[in-house]
């Protein structure tokens, strides 16, 4: 009988059900996060996507093959020819080390997984972890129910999926997990004020630093949080302990990453954290003094205190400004500056502006990436502000700053997405708590819980026990005070509406993921009328041709977008790549592409170029080709060589960029144009269009008579998407392309003067005719000449 009752209590024990339910919801969220990112693998194959992931994959491969220390010391002579690139010191190694560790672990357990598969599936794996980290963070901020909702949201929200589908092996894939986990630990350490949690925060921060340049966001947001708490008069020793421990450990740890090095103490981006640290110490010191100086009156004390804090804040600010001015601290870099002035990059750094993901976000993309969450997220902010406490200040600051950054740059949508999920989950959880509960007493029960959370988490665990008496009392008091008479129908309608919205959200997420974010972009697919699929594999065709049929050390010139892919798939030396660290080198390539062939040949000779690779979409109508990117090449080249390249030359007098007959002569004869359209003028794609009809730009090309002097076509892929040209070695004797001008014209009939005999020679009047002996014979003459030449 006792056993039976045990079972009964276990079954009716709400805590047991709750943990089982939340565990299974989290497990399902993990599964959903993982599997919704597999569209590309199922539709295509297990392959690395896009551009940057190819570099990451290549360096992970290096790490796996040669070990960690060789990876840190890796000098890549195959990139940025002839400069090379110190990869170990210019890369965030977190991603590679994570994948390498997983690979090592699996292989030491004799689970023989290829490193490529580890890399492909790393992002989905970490997305699952992100959803768990989101759950933890939201649970700390609000309640368990909101946490579960947030975990489900982040698992499928397109704004995050866009950067973490299987194969998108990029820093962001693991960085968002690191970011949220760091925030969770920070909130935890603010709540507890324990050094242990602060230490954990610093470790998570270290991982974040090793993984992504976005760590700067953490090291500015946490000090901002502390600063705002100080302003709000919410200083406590918990915050003091948490921040000081975090700052010092985090600073020391972050400096261990070679790429970061001394930046944390030398650049403006990090100065906010140091300033807040100094301020916090000063504040703490004044508080300490406060306890000892009891002679002053309260008001005196207060004004002194405010003055002292303001003075120390000003001193810190002055110190930073001075250090920046004196050159000890580097000022804001252009990349960061462009976050404040959106027009800055367009004028000063065209290379940053040329990347589509650095453009400002459109309104549509907010809805596209976040759907209903973007509408409910302000409600979540409002709930947090309404019931404010230390850690909710943090999430509000996070929401505000991330919204701003996401508005500035499409790419930073990624940092906004988690906070949108968290706050929307809070909003939804509030609505559901109000409308989904079936009976009045239970509503109070849950509301009490949330209030308890607000007071602190200590009681949370013991809610089954000694809080009950109080709650019962509340039942007695409150019904009279609160007009709590929602009809059953209203509740049902509201709940159904919310469920509808959430369902539509899930459908939208799946649709976006499957249609917009699951293309490897290395492989293209087109669909026929009957629904069957054609795979256009031109990129790999060309890269593999390069890999197999060119010399191992040949150098390939292409626009920088394809640098990483050429290095990764073709394994050939490139001149420029997606790590755009050297603007002038890129400008040189841009100059070569936008000059005429003769000028370009000089540049290519100087750079030892063997092959030139261009992307040409005119045959299949691929819009991301080099002609469409061409203006950026011109602009970047103009930035460095303003005398030789002028953007205006490439436009028609009306200011249009045209490739047809009306296009400017400079454009129609530049190297890029010729490389793209070589022999294209002969090609007739179908009977309705003239030969040489460019499908991307829908015009007939203007220059059909293209011939090369210094180059020859080496390979063109099946759909002409990639064209590779070989740069010919210089001839021993430079041949003229026209017939030589004759300068030694000799008359056909020998000219004979009509003057004869003495009259032939002209004479000077009164000049004496002098004879100086006799001319020697020819035999004697020759040796004398030789001796003279020897002299």
């Amino acid at each position: 009988m006792a056993g039976e009752s045990n079972i009964r209590t276990a079954l009716s024990n709400p805590a047991g059900w709750q943990s089982l339910l939340s565990f299974s919801i989290l497990a399902l969220a993990y599964l959903a996060a993982f599997s919704s990112r597999l569209f590309a693998v199922i539709r295509f194959e297990s392959i690395i996507h896009e551009f940057d992931p190819w570099f990451n994959y290549r360096s992970t491969h290096h790490l796996v093959n040669y070990g960690f220390y060789n990876f840190l010391n890796w000098f890549d002579e195959r990139a940025w020819y002839p400069l090379g690139r110190i990869v170990g010191g210019t890369v965030y190694p977190g991603l590679m080390v994570t994948a390498g560790t997983i690979h090592w672990l699996l292989n030491s357990l004799h689970i023989t997984v290829h490193i490529r598969d580890v890399c492909v599936f790393l992002a989905p794996t970490f997305s699952g972890l992100t959803s768990i980290a989101t759950y933890l963070l939201t649970k700390e901020l609000w309640s368990q129910g909101a946490g579960l909702l947030a975990a489900c949201f982040i698992a499928i929200v397109p704004g995050y999926i866009s950067r973490s589908v299987a194969g998108s092996y990029d820093n962001e894939g693991i960085a968002i997990f690191a970011l949220l986990f760091t925030y969770f630990l920070w909130v935890k350490s603010v709540k507890t004020g324990s050094i242990f949690w602060a230490g954990c925060t610093a470790l998570a921060y270290f991982y974040m630093v090793s993984a992504w340049g976005g760590y700067v966001y953490i090291i500015n947001l946490i000090p901002l949080h502390v600063f705002v708490l100080l302003l709000m008069g919410r200083f406590s020793y918990r915050i003091f302990v948490a921040y000081c421990a975090f700052f010092i450990l985090g600073l020391v740890l972050s400096m261990q990453i070679p790429f970061v090095g001394f930046q944390p103490i030398r650049t403006s981006e990090h100065m906010a954290s140091a300033g807040v640290f100094a301020l916090l110490i000063a504040y703490g010191f004044l508080k300490y003094l406060h306890t000892h100086l009891s002679s002053l009156t309260k008001s005196e004390m207060r004004s002194l205190f405010v003055f002292a804090v303001a003075a120390s804040a000003a001193a810190v600010l002055m110190a930073v400004v001075y250090l920046t001015y004196a050159g000890y601290v580097a000022p804001w870099s252009g990349r960061f500056y462009s976050l404040y002035d959106t027009g800055y990059a367009k004028i000063h750094i065209p290379i940053i502006a040329s990347v589509s993901e650095h453009q400002p976000t459109t309104w549509v993309s907010f809805f596209f990436d976040l759907h209903v969450l973007v509408c409910t997220f302000p409600a979540g902010v409002w709930f947090c502000i309404k019931k404010i406490n230390d850690e909710r200040v943090f999430i509000v600051l996070y929401a505000i700053s991330a919204s701003y950054f996401a508005g500035v740059m499409v790419r930073l949508m990624l940092t906004l997405t988690p906070v949108v999920c968290i706050l929307s989950a809070i909003a939804f959880s509030n609505v559901l708590e109000r409308y989904l509960v079936d009976d009045t007493p239970k509503i109070h029960h849950i509301e009490d819980e949330s209030e308890d959370d607000e007071e602190g988490d200590k009681r949370n665990k013991s809610k089954d026990l000694y809080d009950k008496a109080g709650k019962v009392r509340k039942i007695r008091h409150e019904p009279s005070g609160e007009p709590e008479s929602l009809g059953g129908n209203v509740k049902t309608i509201v709940v159904m509406a919310v469920m509808m919205i959430l369902m539509m959200f899930a459908v939208h997420c799946t649709w976006v993921t499957s249609n917009a974010y699951s293309s490897p972009s290395v492989v293209l697919a087109s669909y026929n009328h009957d629904g069957s699929r054609n795979i256009l594999d031109d990129f790999r065709e060309a890269y593999y041709w390069l890999r197999q049929n060119t010399d191992d050390h040949s150098r390939v010139m292409s626009w920088w977008d394809y640098g990483y892919q050429i290095a990764g798939m073709a394994n050939r030396t490139t001149l420029v790549d997606n790590n755009t660290w050297n603007n002038s080198h890129i400008a040189l390539v841009g100059k070569a592409m936008s000059s005429n062939e003769t000028r370009a040949y000089e540049i290519m000779k100087a750079l030892d170029v063997d092959y030139v690779l261009v992307i040409f979409g005119g045959v299949i109508g691929y819009s991301g080709d080099d002609i469409n990117k061409f203006l950026w090449m011109v602009r970047i080249a103009e930035g460095e060589h303003p005398k030789e390249i002028r953007e205006g030359d490439y436009f028609t007098p009306q200011g249009e960029f045209r490739v047809d007959k009306a296009g400017s002569k400079t454009l129609l004869n530049c190297l890029m144009y010729k490389l793209c359209y070589y022999r294209f003028g002969e090609m007739q794609l179908d009977f309705r269009t003239p030969p040489g009809f460019d499908r991307t730009r829908n015009v007939e090309i203007g220059n059909k008579d293209i011939s090369f002097q210094h180059m020859e076509e080496a390979y063109t892929t099946e759909h002409w998407l990639v064209r590779i040209y070989k740069v010919k070695k210089q001839d021993n004797r430079v041949r003229l392309d026209h017939t030589a001008r004759k300068t030694d014209i000799k008359p056909k009939t020998k000219f004979t003067s009509r003057k004869s005999g003495k009259r032939k020679r002209g004479f000077i009047k009164n000049k004496m005719l002098i004879k100086k002996g006799k001319r020697p014979s020819s035999k004697n003459k020759k040796p004398s000449r030789k001796t003279s030449s020897k002299k």
Partner: protein, 600 residues
């Protein structure tokens, strides 16, 4: 060349039975009375089919004769085999031999099935295949040009015996002949007939040279790695890694996609080829280092799986590519066993494309973990490399890998090898048990971790909470029992009223009283313990006790009332009224107790 010679020597050594015969004399009494040679140059190979009518002009019978390989081609020899028409085209054994005095020649001894008596004659057909015997000339051509190749051979049948009469037919891939040796030649469309030549001396050589157009694919597998992984769970996985090269005339100048797409030229290039896989092949894949090669078609037929492979790019002269294909086979078709002894019976090399040329092949057979006594037998000589160990899923001490290597193979080498080994069937259970054990350990650690307390400092609050929870559980149980006692009281009263058995009633009442007392003291004890944890709780329990005392009073009143009515001291109506009041009071107290309990 050295390698070929070396292998042939190994080949000779393997066939120990002919050890003595290997160094025999040529046997000068034999005469080739009629020789008819067919040189097939329609593909990239040079296939010789020679029909020899052999006559024993001597006095003694002979059981073997010697074949000599033409010195201009001997480095390129890939395969030699002989059949005789006497008894249903049976294969004859061909072994390499050396003859004193002719050390530079490569010689083979063919054992005849029946001794050839004096004056008798027999007909033997000899097949030879030579790889890379046709060299492109010119060595470089542009995309628009046709591929011309040059074949150099011997106009006569190179034999240690005198040849009475011989003819040679050279079959070409096309009828465009640039030049050819004119000696007794007759051109018939795409073939040239030489001869007949009469009374040719032994070992006579005369240049035969043909220069003609051959646009057939000159494709060579420069290296092939064939890995066969045997699993005793019913699967054999095969993966083949290829390095393929177009060995024809190299492409000069540029490759124009425009011209290639108009199908006007590039005739010697290779666009695609067919590989024939076993009929049982499943899960076929075709990949390279950068992923799946999407340009392939799979055709399943009754007796084979046809895989049409298109390399990523068309192969022009000098271009090469690298890829791997893999597939699974059911093991019951290839793996045989009796008890613990197993035999794997598979092809050493499989079909890659028609008229294939494989320069080098390495075959690796991965056997299940724990296989012993490995014995490999291949129908032609191969190099055995030392065995290796391979580690993959759930392996502890590694799977043995048998490695064999051979160079210069053609279609005729598609033959089966047999690999015998022994394997204890019980070892099959090792891997599932390993998994079971691993999961056991995992769950056990979780259990231990959850059940035991590893905290180094005591958490007073939570411990007190837990103790209190335990006490409250006990309290709840006691209280439940006590409440049930009242029900029993009522039952006893009802029974008493109906039976009027005073003695029985008193007995049961005493019994219940005793139980009640026990429970009350027990609750009191619990109250004392609870006081240590929380006075608040203890107070509540005190209230509970008070309520219980009240309840008890009520029930006692009710009992006296019942006694009265049974004794007849009270009227029935009065009893019913009183009892109603009491039971209402009881209900009230019971209700209070419930709410108090639920608030605990």
């Amino acid at each position: 060349m050295n390698r070929v010679a070396y292998e042939l020597v190994v080949f000779g050594a393997l066939l120990a039975s002919c050890c003595t015969a290997n160094q025999g004399a040529i046997g000068g009494d034999l005469v080739n009375s009629a020789v008819n040679r067919q040189i097939d140059l329609t593909s990239q190979l040079a296939k010789f089919t020679t029909t020899i009518t052999l006559e024993n002009a001597g006095k003694t019978a002979t059981t073997s004769f010697v074949l000599a390989i033409d010195p201009t081609l001997r480095d390129r020899l890939s395969f030699i085999g002989a059949t005789t028409k006497d008894d249903d085209a049976e294969k004859l054994s061909v072994t390499q031999t050396t003859v004193p005095g002719r050390t530079t020649d490569v010689l083979f001894r063919v054992d005849l099935r029946k001794a050839l008596g004096a004056g008798q004659s027999t007909t033997v057909t000899v097949d030879e295949s030579y790889t890379h015997a046709q060299t492109p000339f010119p060595a470089q051509i542009t995309q628009a040009e046709d591929q011309l190749v040059l074949f150099k051979g011997n106009l006569h049948f190179y034999s240690p015996y005198k040849t009475v009469s011989e003819t040679t037919t050279v079959k070409l891939a096309s009828n465009k002949i640039e030049s050819h040796t004119k000696t007794k030649a007759k051109v018939e469309d795409s073939s040239i007939v030489y001869g007949p030549f009469e009374n040719v001396e032994p070992f006579s050589q005369e240049k035969l040279q043909v220069h003609y157009e051959n646009n057939t694919p000159f494709l060579a597998v420069t290296s092939l790695l064939r890995v066969i992984e045997v699993s005793h769970w019913g699967n054999i996985a095969v993966e083949e890694t290829y390095d393929v090269r177009h060995s024809g005339a190299r492409l000069k100048g540029s490759f124009s996609r425009y011209d290639y797409q108009r199908q006007l030229d590039g005739r010697s290039s290779v666009k695609s080829f067919k590989t024939i896989l076993p009929a049982a092949a499943r899960d076929v894949y075709y990949r390279d280092e950068i992923g799946n090669i999407s340009t392939s078609n799979l055709n399943e037929q009754d007796d084979a799986v046809e895989l049409e492979l298109r390399p990523r790019f068309p192969l022009f002269g000098g271009w090469k590519t690298h890829y791997y294909i893999g597939y699974n086979l059911p093991s019951y078709e290839y793996l045989y066993n009796s008890g613990d002894d197993y035999a794997l019976h598979m092809r050493f090399v499989d079909h890659v494309y028609d008229d294939q040329v494989i320069d080098d092949i390495t075959v690796k057979v991965i056997l299940p973990e724990g296989s012993k006594n490995v014995d490999l037998s291949v129908p032609f000589p191969v190099d055995r490399h030392p065995d290796e160990l391979h580690f993959t899923y759930l392996d502890t001490f590694g799977r043995p890998v048998v490695i064999a290597h051979k160079s210069n193979l053609v279609e005729q080498h598609i033959q089966e090898f047999t690999l015998k080994y022994s394997f204890q069937k019980l070892l099959l259970l090792q891997e599932p048990l390993l998994v079971v054990f691993a999961f056991y350990i995992l769950f056990f650690t979780v259990i231990v971790y959850v059940r035991l307390d590893f905290a180094i400092s005591k958490d007073e609050a939570s411990e007190s909470r837990m103790r209190m929870q335990g006490l409250l559980d006990q309290l709840q149980a006691s209280q439940d029992k006590r409440t049930s006692l009242y029900q029993r009281y009522e039952d006893a009263i009802a029974k008493f009223k109906s039976t009027k058995d005073l003695a029985g009633f008193t007995g049961s009442r005493k019994k219940i009283d005793a139980e009640h007392k026990d429970l009350t003291t027990a609750i009191k004890e619990l109250q004392g313990k609870l006081k240590l944890e929380s006075t608040d709780m203890a107070e509540k329990v005190g209230e509970l006790q008070k309520l219980d005392v009240n309840l008890k009073e009520q029930i006692v009143l009710s009992i006296t009332l019942a006694e009265k009515v049974v004794a007849g001291k009270m009227g029935k109506q009065q009893y019913v009224d009183n009892e109603k009041v009491y039971s209402a009071k009881r209900e009230d107290i019971m209700g209070k107790t419930e709410t108090l309990l639920s608030s605990l």
